[in-house]
């Protein structure tokens, strides 16, 4: 990747983090941890890889994304607002009665959301269905899927994994946001999922493992995955829960956290101070 593009993506990721902290902080409570850990993945997808049209969010031949860990909606909303799918002012309506931006992703409320999620595990199967549909229609596009490490404990994830390999869904590229944490503690203590790369390999997927906060590695891994046509791809991303939100970074408690708008502003200032 050229230095210029790298700088652009890193800068963009920072802007998305700022928007996300502001959005959740304005409300005063939310799933900040899992939102911050996927920002770099979302940034590479939406600002480098995915073919989408904010003016035509339902375009048939768009690339699609299912954020199966639906509680990370707020990070995706920041991206979609920045891309122009809807006005940025909407971000301050997060979870207000009647809002178009609920905690968990909702395809019937938010322009640009490709599937409704929130009950962990379900987005994974839906993504297989979307990828299969594009394959059956002959659309040369990708379906992207993001799952959590805690979410990987759901049996449905593995039913979908088997399905994706069986139907040779080479157009499906998934990410595991491996931040090593869930609600009740570290994933390894609650219900270990390792060796996660071996598991996906065993299910017949093409597997890569990368630093999920490095835009160059993310971009390269997606490019690699796009070359694989007979198997779905899993990109296991080592990430840090709460990444870039100082009061919550690396903390289990960042999963769902109450914090004031003041705290949000301080965290944003800190983030912007970093070079």
């Amino acid at each position: 990747m050229e230095a210029e593009k790298r700088t652009f993506l890193e800068q963009k990721a920072k802007e998305i983090r700022v928007l996300t902290i502001d959005e959740v902080g304005y409300l005063g409570v939310g799933h900040i941890g899992g939102a911050m850990s996927v920002v770099d993945i979302l940034t590479v997808l939406y600002y480098s890889k995915m073919n989408v049209d904010p003016k035509n969010p339902k375009m048939e031949t768009r690339d699609k994304l299912v954020v199966s860990k639906g509680h990370s909606g707020p990070a995706l909303y920041a991206v979609l607002a920045d891309k122009g799918f809807f006005p940025k002012e909407w971000l301050h309506t997060l979870n207000h009665g009647g809002t178009n931006l609920p905690s968990h992703c909702d395809m019937n409320r938010t322009p640009g959301i490709d599937f409704t999620t929130g009950s962990l595990g379900q987005g994974s199967s839906a993504a297989m269905g979307i990828a299969l549909a594009d394959k059956m229609k002959g659309n040369d596009v990708n379906t992207y899927l993001i799952i959590g490490d805690g979410e990987s404990q759901e049996g449905q994830i593995w039913e979908a994994a088997m399905f994706g390999a069986h139907y040779k869904l080479g157009n499906l590229i998934a990410f595991t946001d491996y931040n090593k944490m869930q609600i009740d503690g570290e994933t390894a203590d609650v219900m270990g999922i390792d060796d996660i790369t071996t598991k996906w390999n065993g299910f017949g997927w093409h597997v890569q493992r990368i630093d999920g906060h490095n835009v160059v590695e993310i971009e390269r891994a997606i490019t690699n995955a796009q070359q694989v046509t007979e198997r779905p791809s899993m990109i296991v991303c080592d990430t840090i829960k709460g990444k870039g939100f100082a009061p919550g970074e690396g903390k289990v408690g960042s999963h769902s956290m109450a914090f004031t708008y003041e705290t949000a502003k301080e965290a944003i200032a800190l983030l912007q101070g970093e070079k």
Binding site: L27, V29, G30, G70, N95, H96, G97, G98, T99, P102, S103, H104, D106, T116, T117, G118, S119, L120, G121, G150, E151, Q153, E154, G155, Q182, I183, D184, V190, M191
Partner: protein, 315 residues
């Protein structure tokens, strides 16, 4: 246990009651699906680390494992959000726990609108209806700290599967410490002669009590019944008050179809047709918002109860 009226959250009452029960019975185990912290069962873990089993984010497996543990003599109390307890693990609960007659206690938290910001995917309006159709299952929705404490003990004593709702955040104390509770026996909170408000759960018993006061101010005498057990329904009490007041309003924090109101009307229509209104969620999905917003949005307010009661009471 601390004094019951000093608890800030119902979930802590639940956890402390389990700790109390577990002290004298080493067969009691507590399970959760990555919501220990949320459901308060973390408190149990601190007291009995070896008897707290966290299944991770895998509700169906948790309930299946609970049934296996029960078959070997353990008494599992398994909790998760009510939406996942009722829907994600339904087949496992239906077959491995109920059909196989295993002593599994399943606890679903954040009933109805109390799911607040977690929104439509997490808002269990459906759990009572789904659970009611499982043969022989005991289905409960306690409304305060005292009833939660005593009914948790009662379901431990009861041998067989149970589904109980758990209002997890916030608490209220309606009853005196010496109030008795029995599975399948409603409690008359306030007697009355013109209309009967049959409610359950913290949100709607609270609203029914408010409605009773508002009705009294208008010269209407309303009885208030806490129907903490939806199944088996206290038919004798329903019949007594249907006869006495001639008008019934049911009040519940959930789906209108097949819930408490459904149970009461099924009984009455076959046995003693009585004027009725159901204050409940009218065949729609949940959404995000504060609890106040959601109660207004879905019509779960004392005003709606008053309106329903007045429409039945002939002047």
């Amino acid at each position: 246990m601390k004094k019951l009226d000093t608890y800030a959250d119902m979930r802590a009452v639940y956890a402390d009651t389990l700790i109390e029960i577990a002290k004298d019975d080493d067969k009691v185990v507590v399970m959760d699906a990555d919501l220990m912290a949320a459901n308060g069962t973390k408190g149990f873990k601190d007291a009995y680390p070896d008897r707290m089993i966290n299944a991770g984010v895998a509700e169906a497996n948790m309930v299946g494992v609970a049934a296996g543990l029960a078959s070997q003599g353990f008494i599992p109390f398994a909790s998760t959000f009510g939406c996942f307890a009722a829907r994600r693990a339904y087949d496992q609960f239906f077959l491995s726990a109920n059909y196989a007659k295993q002593n599994v206690k399943l606890v679903g938290s954040d009933p109805g609108v109390t799911a607040q910001f977690n929104g439509g995917t997490h808002m269990p309006f459906c759990d009572i209806t789904l659970m009611r159709v499982i043969p022989n299952l005991v289905v409960l929705d306690p409304c305060d700290t005292v009833s939660l404490h005593k009914l948790t003990k009662a379901i431990y004593e009861y041998k067989g599967p149970v589904y109980m709702r758990l209002h997890r955040k916030g608490a209220t104390t309606i009853y005196k410490d010496d109030q008795e509770f029995e599975i399948g026996k409603g409690v008359v909170i306030k007697d009355g002669t013109d209309v009967t408000l049959i409610a359950n759960g913290l949100v709607m018993v609270t609203e029914a009590i408010k409605a009773e006061k508002a009705l009294a101010a208008e010269g209407i005498s309303a009885a208030v019944i806490d129907m903490h057990t939806i199944k088996p329904l206290d038919e004798a009490l329903v019949a007594e008050y249907a006869k006495k007041t001639g008008a019934i309003v049911t009040c519940e924090n959930g789906q209108k179809i097949g819930g408490l109101g459904g149970a009461v009307s099924e009984y009455l229509s076959e046995n003693m047709p009585t004027l009725m209104k159901r204050v409940a969620v009218d065949d729609v999905f949940g959404e995000v918002g504060t609890q106040d917003y959601l109660q207004e949005r879905f019509g779960l307010t004392s005003e709606k109860i008053v309106e329903a009661a007045k429409s039945l009471v002939k002047k």
